[in-house]
Symmetry: C2
Subunit: 405 residues, 2 copies
């Protein structure tokens, strides 16, 4: 197969015109620009010779005809508000170009390439809706319940887009021998470490919890320090303790964030009656996440009752880590080596459709560098040379899978 780089780049640039905002895109799921982008993609798949359709959740799916086995390649074409032009789009158009190149080459194997753009990965209505649906993990009740921030129902959006009532397509384990997703890194590691291809070992699990301190509001001028039940100072001490504790139990790629803090009532002359921090932490290892969680509980238990302040930790979100297929990862690594590209094995710190697929089919992801690590912003960008190297590595991996059959 021969990858047509100018065609790939032209497709990427054209897709970026739907919802264009400067050098980025504002293409929220099921808005008119998102629908236009889906229908454009459907036409491009059809023109490539794929058997293409849009299903009942909005997934755009193009099958190679006349094969019983296929590598599924894809990602998503929706964006966050004022997001980047490559986030998701890259993986879908990698799939289209590879499928097109394979069909043009007229390969005589029975392993085809199927291409998919999963709906609403970014969660305008329901994060990962398309990939969850494709893997049989999204119930009708969950679709009924999904709403956007303005309170509009996903059902209504699907109906307006004309997708309501269509069957929802499902992964075919007897057909889909692998799922491959190319994506921008969305972080700075490849750039900083001078590597061109990231081999994703797994997608981190995510946990969120609140630590809440409850004291008593008092006049901050007239209440002596030793008589206060100061929720604010209790929270500062507890967070400080947690930073030390996390450092002790962290893995090499663990991350955590104290992203939001609120003191009530929040006045300069009133001792805080309550204080709360939102803590998010991520790791590829469930064991590491468990250890970090245990440290939060221990820190809260230690602080609880000190200075008359109650301290409680509450879990809000728990998403398990998703491991990628190690054979496929090794194959991508070999493909990259074959192209002379430097590689870095790394976890993905962000969620992707691949984290859903990996529980149902052998799955691998490759990353290409994000300039300055920027993403979820219109300034997101990647060098064209890296875009072209990424598809070469992915196409070579498909070639290896074909030869392995």
């Amino acid at each position: 197969m021969r990858i047509n780089y100018p065609r790939l780049l032209a497709d990427l640039r054209h897709l970026a015109t739907f919802g264009q905002v400067d050098s980025g895109v504002h293409r929220l799921s099921f808005t008119s620009v998102d629908q236009e982008a889906r229908h454009w993609l459907l036409r491009r798949m059809t023109e490539a010779g794929l058997d293409a359709r849009i299903d009942g959740i909005g997934n755009v799916y193009g099958r190679t005809r006349g094969v019983t086995k296929a590598v599924l390649i894809g990602s998503h074409t929706d964006s966050v508000p004022k997001g980047g032009w490559l986030d998701g789009a890259l993986g879908v158009l990698y799939g289209l170009e590879i499928a097109r190149a394979c069909l043009e080459a007229g390969s005589q194997t029975d392993l085809g390439v199927d291409v998919i753009s999963f709906a609403d990965e970014e969660g305008t209505y329901r994060a990962l809706a398309g990939s969850l649906s494709f893997c049989g993990q999204l119930s009708e009740a969950e679709i009924d319940a999904a709403k956007n921030q303005q309170g509009k129902n996903l059902r209504e959006a699907l109906s307006e887009a004309g997708y309501a009532g269509r069957p929802r397509l499902i992964l075919d384990p007897s057909r889909h021998v692998a799922y491959l997703e190319g994506h921008i890194e969305q972080g700075p590691r490849l750039e900083i470490e001078g590597k061109r291809i990231g081999i994703v070992t797994g997608i981190v699990g995510i946990r969120r919890c609140h630590v809440t301190c409850t004291g008593q509001a008092d006049h901050a001028g007239t209440t002596p320090m030793h008589l206060r039940k100061d929720a604010g100072s209790a929270l500062i001490k507890c967070c400080y303790d947690l930073i030390q504790r996390f450092e002790k139990v962290r893995g090499p790629h663990s991350v955590w964030n104290f992203g939001h803090v609120v003191f009530e009532p929040g006045a300069g002359n009133v001792v805080p009656s309550s204080a709360r921090v939102l803590i998010e932490f991520r790791d590829v290892s469930e064991g590491t996440l468990d250890r970090m969680q245990a440290e939060i509980q221990a820190a809260a238990a230690l602080a609880n009752g000190q200075g008359g302040v109650g301290v409680q930790a509450t879990e809000l979100i728990r998403i398990s880590p998703a491991e990628m297929d190690s054979h496929l990862a090794t194959m991508i690594e070999a493909a990259a080596r074959g192209r002379g590209a430097s590689t870095l094995r790394m976890p993905s710190g962000a969620g992707h459709d691949g984290m859903v697929l990996t529980r149902h089919a052998p799955t691998a992801m490759l990353f290409i560098p994000s300039i300055g690590g920027r993403s979820h912003d219109i300034t997101e960008d990647t060098d064209e040379a890296d875009i072209c190297l990424g598809i070469d590595v992915l196409a070579d991996t498909v070639q290896m899978l074909t030869e392995r059959k």
Copy 2:
């Protein structure tokens, strides 16, 4: 002179009907209930035989006729939103009752009692406006500039109340030999230490500053810890450091408060780009305040630049401590001892009209206990026995001043 306790208590209860909210009052400066309360007070002063008037800033002032020297006794009758019934009202009606009792006794001294209710102590438009005006410290330009939270001008409020254009009365140093103010403690110390009369040694100085950390917003999943410029964690560490530093340089009565914290953008999955804390600290010693301020600067300087985060401390408010007259304080203490009352020398952690007066006349304040330390709330209250003991001590102090002449 003979204090009429039922009359004092009836006056206090009656004043509390203006703007009554359950057991508290909502009597913001220059609202109709505040004006009604002022005019009721004016009538009560006149009925007592005082030469009473309301001046151009709204101060209600009653002079004893036929004397060349007078002890000035007072406080304020405005309240904070949903405040307590005794805060301010107590000191004014102590003055009224003592003046009344003196006039009834027909004392043959040339030391009279003048009574004053200072306007807007609580700062609906301008904190301490009445006492500042009375001490010649409030310019016409400052009155022009004063606004309430709804943007209404103090000038407009004075005009609506009918006070505009009236002369503003001024302290007369040749007449006013002392200023005495009785007040509820607004804190828990007297109650907890089992003392009935607080001898105010001084009113704390107040400083406020912001410590602001400036980093960079990044994806909290994909940005490795060592590559972050995390303003949130920097602020936690800086605040923790400050708590230790304050403990080292504090005086016996120093207080501080981390009352408000904000992290921006404030999302669980975004590394905070900025984080800010509002710190307020109070002490009777300017030197201690200077040392605490220096620790804030030192902590900010130490943290500045660590982890790529800029840290800056900015002073917002600086109010100097106000010492009370030590001779008068000793006299109040002796008067309390004469009544068999336990006393506690203590600073006032809150601001009062007395802090303005003390720069212009010998000034003393006494505190009576606040039940549960509650204040600036409708639950504020004091035992009637303590209210009566307070006026006895104050009346005895006036008697001592009379005899000293």
